[in-house]
Symmetry: D2
Subunit: 425 residues, 4 copies
C-alpha cells in the first residue's frame, strides 16, 4: 500500500496548484463581481469574462490542458490538444488535480476540465464515430466550443432515468427529437454548440434499452432555451442550467451515439469518472472553506478572544479536517478501483459500489464543512464577499445531480446485501 | 396545563390562515416572478409590488393589522391603527399568528407584522418620547413608512455587540453619527424613512453602557446605502439588507432613544418578543415545506412507486413532523414565559434561557425540514419554482441574525451551570 | 394556553421530588452495590432489597402511592389503596410525577408506579372482570404482588405484533397456552405472581383479531423461566427480563381478558399512557444526567480549567438543556391530547400520532444527553459508580421496547401523509 | 498511489481470516457463555478459558503469533518467538490483520496481539534494558505472562495526563510507588505479572517531565487490586479493568523505564501504533456488526417483508458500508504516515494529526454501525446472544481510553490552525 502520488501526478499537482494560486484565485473575486454587476444592471452576464480565455491560453501554453483526458485516449489527442506531451493520467492521478481546481469556481473552465464538457468529451472519445469526433470532440478539446447534457426533465422524477419521457424517434434516416429538458448545464454559454440529448425511442423495450442518446446541435431548428434556472439564487454563469424545449427537432441518424436504445450503457460509462471528478472538486471546495474558516477564526475577535478560542470552534475545525481527509481517501480509493476495473477490462462490483459511496459521502461532507465556515464568518459568509455561499449551493446541488443520494444509497445497499447473501450461499 | 388557544387567538388564527390561504398564497408566485424578472432585466425590483398595498388594505379592513402589538400598549393604538378593536395579544396568543404568516414570504408585510419594523415599533412604544412616537411610530403603525435597524458592522465580529465601532457622539445639542453598518434589513425599500442606529458613545464606560441608540432619518445628509447585499443569491426584495455608511451625520440629541449609553438595555427588551416572532415564522416555513414534501412524495413516481414509499422517505417525513411539533411547543412555552415575566414585571431567568433556547433550536430544525423537502423535490427544489430554496436561505440567515447559535448556546449553558452551582451551594 | 401545573399536581410533584431527594437517592447507590455484590458472589440478587419495602411503606403513608391510577378509576380504589384520598390524576398532571420518579432506578417501584405493573393494572382496571380484579388487581394495587407482560418472542420479528406465534387455544372451558416469550419484564421478581400473556388463537381471523390475552398465574404448571436476560450486561434486578416457556399450560377460560381475539384492542389501550410514563421517566433520567454533567464539569479540572470551560462542553450542556425542554413539552402535549381523547370518549388522530412521536423523540434525546454526561465523566461514567451507564442502557432499550422507532415513525408518517391527502381531496 | 496489500500481508491476512473464521468464531459463543455462567454462579470467571491456550498453541504453530511486532525489532525476536520466520510488518501491513482479529473478542488474545500487552511489549522493546527485556518482554512474547498499564486515576481528570497524582519517588536505589490507579486493563487475569506504572516524580519540573514510568511486579508488597470495574455491565474477562492501590510499594531503581521524568516520551511512542491497532480492531467490530445486520435484515420478516425492505433500513446499511470504508482508509493512511515517520526517523506533524484524527473518527463510526445492527436485531441485539451489545460497549470505551475525543480534536485543530497561520506568515 502506498499513498504517494506518481512523480508525474505530483509534478502536475504542484503546477496546477501554483497556477490556481497565482493566476486564478487573485482574479476570481473581480470576475465574479463583474458577473453580478452585469446581472444587476440587466446586462449580459453570460458571455464569458475575457479573463477566462486569457487564462485558458496560459494554461494551455503550460501544458495544463485537458488533464482529465484518460490514459487510453491520450495517445491520440495529447499531442494535438496539449495534454503535456503524451500519456493521459489514471483516475487516481487525475483526482488530486480535480481537487486543486475545485476550490475555485473558475479554474475547471480555465483548464478545460469542467463539467459537463469533460463527461461529454469522454462520451465522444469512447462512443463517437470518427465523424462525430472530428466535428464535436476536437473543437471541445481545443476549448473552442462548449457542450451541454440534456437528460433531466421537469415533469418526471428524474432520479429514475427510465422515467425520461422526451422522445428520440427514427423517421427514415433522421432522428426526431421532442420534449422538455431542464438542468441542462452549460447551455447558457454562448459558445455552447452541441447538446447530448437522451430520449425515449422504444417504450416497449426492456427497461434499460428504451432510450437513445443523440447529438443535437444547439442551433438546430426547434431547440429553444426557455429560461435559465437559478439554484438558490445562483445562475452559475458562464455555464448555467437551462430549461430547453425540443420541438420536432430533426437531426441525421448519424448523430446517434453508440446505437438505438443504448443510452444507459453510455450513461454508465460516462458517470463513473465524472462522479470522481465532481467529488474531488467538492473536496477542493471544502478545503478552501476550511482554510477561510481557519483564517477568520484566527483573525477576528469576540468576547476578548480570537474566535478560534471560543466554545466549540476548535472542535468544529478538527471535525472538518477529519471529514475532508476521510472523504478524500474514499474518493482516491474509488478512483483506483475504477483504474483497476479499466485495467481488468470490466467494471468491478467494488468500483460500482465505490462510485455510489463517494456520491453519497462527499457532497454532504462538503456541505458540513462549508456551513461551518459560513457560520464562522457571520453574515459575511452568506454574501458573495466570500466564495462560501456559492460553494454551499454548488455542493447542495451535487446531492441531486448525477443521481440523488437516495438512489446511490440504494446501489450501495443492494451490493452489500448481495455480498452477504452470496457469502451465506 | 392547557394547550388550548384563547378564543380570541383561535378566532384570529382562523382568520389569518384563511386570509393567507385565500389572498396571499395564490398571488405570491406571480409577485415573486415579477421581482425576479425585474431583477434579471436590470429594472427596479425594489419598489414594492402593488399587490402588497392592495392586500394590506384588505387585511386592515378585516382587523388583521398590527396583531403583534403587545397588550400593554394596544389600548392606546388599537383603535386608531386597526388592531381588531382593542386589546393586544399576549406573546403566547400572538405566536401562532406569526407561524401562520411565516409560511409565506409576503404575509408578514401584508399584516404589518414584519421584521424589522415590529421590533422597531416595539422600541418606540416602550422607549420613545411622545414626539418620537408621533413622528415615527404612528406612520409605521399605519404602514405608511418602513424602518431599518442598523447594528451589525462588517469590520468586527458583531456576535459580540460590545464590539460595535461606529460612533454616536454628542456635540452640543446634536448627535454625530459615523461608521459603516451592514445587514441593515429593510433599507432597500423606498418607503424606508427611519433607521435605528446603534453606536459607540463612551469607550471608557462599562462594557454594556458604551453604546447609544439613535433615530436617524434615512434622508439625513451623510447617510448612504453603499450596496444591497444578497444572501446566497437572494436580495429579499422589497426589504433587503443594505450596507450603509454614515459620514458625519448630524441629528438632534432628541433623537436619542432612552438615553446615552443605554443601547443594550433597549436591545435586550427589543429582542425577546422579536426572537419569538422570528422562530414562529420559521416554524411556519417548516410547516409549509413539510406540506410541499408530502404532496411531492404522494404525487411523483419513481421505480414504480410513489416517492413516499421509497427508502427512508416516510421516516424523514415522520422526523420532520416530530421536529416541528417539539420546536413549536418550545417556542410557545418561551412566549408564555415572556408573558409571565411581563406579568411579574421582570424578566425571569427561565424566560431568558428560553429565548436563547428557541433561537438555537428552531432555525436548525427548520433547515432540516426544508432541506428534506428540497431533496424530495429534486432539482426543482433548488429553483424558485418552489419557495423552498428561499425558505432555506431565510432559515440559514436566522442562525446568524439576532445573535449566532454559539452566543445563545453560551447563554443557555451559563444559566444551566449557574442553576446547579446554586443548588449545591 | 397555560403551562402551569394544577395545584394538586404541583403539590404532589413537590412532595414526590422531596421524597425522592430525601429518601430514595441517598440509599440508591448502596442498594445497587448490594445487588452487584450478590450477583458477583453468585448469591441471590433477585429478592428485592429490604429498603424497597421500607420506602414503599413510607410512600404509602404519605399518600404517594399508585399515583398513576387514572382519574376515571381512582374513585373506587383511591381510598382503599392509598392514592391520596381520592381523585386520580389526568395524564398531563401525572406526567411530571413520572419524570420526578424516573431519575431514580428505585423510585418507580417505591411509589408502586413501575412498568410493567402500571400497564397491567390499567388493563385489569379497564378490561378485567370483577373476579379478575379481586384476585389480581387489588393485590397489585397494594403492592403485595408483581406482574409480568409476556408478548415478545425470540423467534419472530416482534416489532410486528401480528407475528406472535405462541398460542392460546380454547379447549372446553380451558385455555391452553404454548410457546416461548422473552423480554417478559418483571418475571425475575420472586413476588411476580401473574403473567399477562398474548397468544395466537385463530390464525385464519382478520390480522388484528387473531390474538388473545390471557392471565396466566406464574406458578401454573408448564410455566418455566428459562433464563434471565441481560441487556448490555444489566439484569435490572429486582424486576428483570425473562425468557419464559409455556408448555401446555392450562388455565380456566375465565382468565381470558376482554374476549377471544381481542388482544390488539387491549394492547392499544394499554400502551398510550404507558408510553407517556416511559417517556417522562426517560426525561427524568436525562435531567439527572445533565445535573451530574454540570457538577462534573464544574468540579473537575484539566489543562488548568474546569471542564466546563474546555472546548465544546458548554455548547453540549446547552444542547442538552434545549433537548430536554423540548422533549418534555412534546410529552406533556401528548399527555394532554390523551386526556382530551378520554374526555371526548375516543382516541383522536392527533393523540395517536403524538404517542408515536414521543416514543421516537424521547429515548434518542435521552441517549444523547446521557452519553454526553458519560463522556464528561471519563471512564467513571462507564462504571456503576455513577448511574449513567445504567441509564443509557435503559434508554437504549426503550428505542426497542413498546415498538421500535421504525414502527412509530411509520405511524407518524402515515398520519401525516393522510392529513395532506385529505386536505387536497 | 496503490491500495494493494504487500504479498506477505495479503498472505497473512488470508491466513488470519481463515483461522478466525474456522477456529475462533465457532467457539466464541460457548466460551462467552461459560464466563457468564461462572459469573452468575459467583464462580471464577477470571481464569482464562482453556480454549484460549489451545488456540494460542495452534496460532503459534501456524506462525500467526506476535504479528504486531514492528519491523525494526522483529529480526531479533521473530525466530525465537514465532513471528513467521523473520521480518516484522509495517504498520500499514499489520493494520488489516488487526481488523481481522478485531471482529472477535477472543482473537487478539489468541494471536498474542491484544491490548495492553502489545503496547507494553513495544515499550519494553524500545525503552527496556537488556535485563528488563529478559525478565518481562520475553515471557510476554511467549504469551506466558500478561501485563497491565496503570496510568488513569479516579481522583483527577485523566484526560490531562499531567494531572496524574500517584507518585514514583526515588529513595536510595529504590523507587517508592504510592497512589491509586484505575482502568488498569489486564489486571484481572491471573497470569498478569507486571504492571507498567506512571507516577509523579518531580512536581517542580517542566509539565511534561514530571512523571516516570516504572515496572512494578504484580506481586510486589503493597500492590492491591481493590476491585474489578465493569463498563456498562461488562467485565471483559479474562483481562478486565482493575482499580489498584499502591501502598509504599518498593522496587529497585533499575525498574525505571528510560529514565526519571521521561514518562511522556514513552507514552507518546507507545500510543501511536497502539491507536492504529485499537482503531483497526474497532473497524473489525463494525464489519462484524454490519454482517450480522445484513443477515438479520435478510432473514427476518415483518409486515410481510424482509426487514431489509422496510423503511430506511437499506439506507442505514448503505451508510454503514460507506462509514466503514472511509474510516478504514483513514486508519490505513495514518498507519502509512507512521511508517513514513519511522522511515524518516521522526514523527511528522501529519502523522501526529492523523493518529488523533482516527481516534476521533473510528470509535464513533463503529458505535453508529453497531447501534444500527442492534436496532435491526430488536431486543436480541441488547442481549449476549449476539456480540453486538458487548461490541458497542467496547467501542464506547474507546472514545475515552487513550485520550478522550475532546483531547484528540484539540490536537487536530491546533495543527490545522497552525498550518494556516504558517502559510500566511
Amino acid at each position: 500500500m502506498d499513498f504517494t502520488l506518481s512523480p508525474r501526478a505530483a509534478d502536475l499537482l504542484e503546477r496546477v496548484r501554483t497556477f490556481v494560486a497565482d493566476e486564478v484565485t487573485p482574479v476570481e473575486p473581480e470576475a465574479h463581481r463583474r458577473i453580478l454587476a452585469a446581472r444587476e444592471a440587466g446586462g449580459d452576464s453570460w458571455t464569458p469574462d475575457p479573463v477566462i480565455a486569457e487564462l485558458q491560453g496560459k494554461a494551455r501554453e503550460q501544458g495544463l490542458w485537458n488533464l482529465f483526458l484518460p490514459a487510453e485516449h491520450a495517445g491520440r489527442y495529447a499531442a494535438d490538444f496539449g495534454t503535456d506531451g503524451g500519456a493521459g493520467l489514471s483516475n487516481v492521478d487525475y483526482a488530486p488535480l480535480a481537487e486543486a481546481m475545485g476550490g475555485s469556481m473558475l479554474a475547471p473552465l480555465v483548464f478545460n476540465c469542467n463539467a459537463p464538457d469533460t463527461g461529454n468529451m469522454e462520451v465522444l472519445l469512447r462512443y463517437g464515430t470518427e465523424e462525430q469526433k472530428e466535428q464535436w470532440l476536437e473543437p471541445l478539446l481545443r476549448g473552442e466550443i462548449r457542450s451541454a447534457f440534456c437528460m433531466t426533465e421537469p415533469e418526471v422524477a428524474s432520479s429514475d432515468a427510465t422515467n425520461m419521457a422526451a422522445t428520440a424517434q427514427i423517421e427514415g434516416d433522421e432522428v426526431v427529437v421532442n420534449g422538455r429538458k431542464w438542468f441542462s448545464t452549460g447551455v447558457g454559454n454562448p459558445d455552447c454548440k452541441i447538446l447530448v440529448f437522451m430520449g425515449l425511442t422504444d417504450p416497449e423495450a426492456d427497461r434499460h434499452s428504451r432510450h437513445t442518446m443523440v447529438l443535437v446541435p444547439r442551433d438546430a431548428p426547434g431547440v429553444r432555451v426557455e429560461r435559465m434556472l437559478n439554484t438558490m439564487g445562483y445562475y452559475d454563469e458562464p455555464l448555467g442550467h437551462g430549461e430547453v424545449t425540443f420541438d420536432d427537432v430533426r437531426v441525421p441518424a448519424s448523430n446517434i451515439l453508440l446505437g438505438l436504445g443504448r443510452a444507459f450503457e453510455i450513461a454508465q460509462g460516462r458517470l463513473g469518472p465524472g462522479r470522481v471528478h465532481h467529488c474531488m472538486r467538492a473536496i477542493g471546495l471544502a478545503e478552501r472553506a476550511l482554510e477561510l474558516a481557519c483564517r477568520r477564526a484566527s483573525s477576528r475577535t469576540a468576547f476578548g478572544k480570537p474566535l478560534a478560542n471560543l466554545g466549540g470552534n476548535r472542535e468544529r475545525i478538527a471535525d472538518a479536517r477529519i471529514a475532508i481527509n476521510r472523504s478524500r481517501l474514499l474518493v482516491l480509493h474509488a478512483a483506483w478501483l475504477l483504474d483497476e476495473s479499466q485495467r481488468a477490462g470490466a467494471m468491478s462490483i467494488e468500483a460500482l459500489s465505490a462510485v455510489s459511496e463517494i456520491k453519497v459521502e462527499v457532497p454532504t461532507m462538503a456541505l458540513g464543512v462549508i456551513d461551518m465556515a459560513i457560520q464562522l464568518h457571520g453574515g459575511a459568509g452568506m454574501t458573495d464577499d466570500f466564495p462560501l455561499a456559492g460553494a454551499w449551493v454548488g455542493a447542495r446541488s451535487l446531492r441531486l445531480a448525477d443521481g440523488p443520494d437516495e438512489v446511490h444509497r440504494n446501489v450501495v445497499a443492494k451490493i452489500e446485501l448481495g455480498r452477504h447473501a452470496a457469502a451465506r450461499a
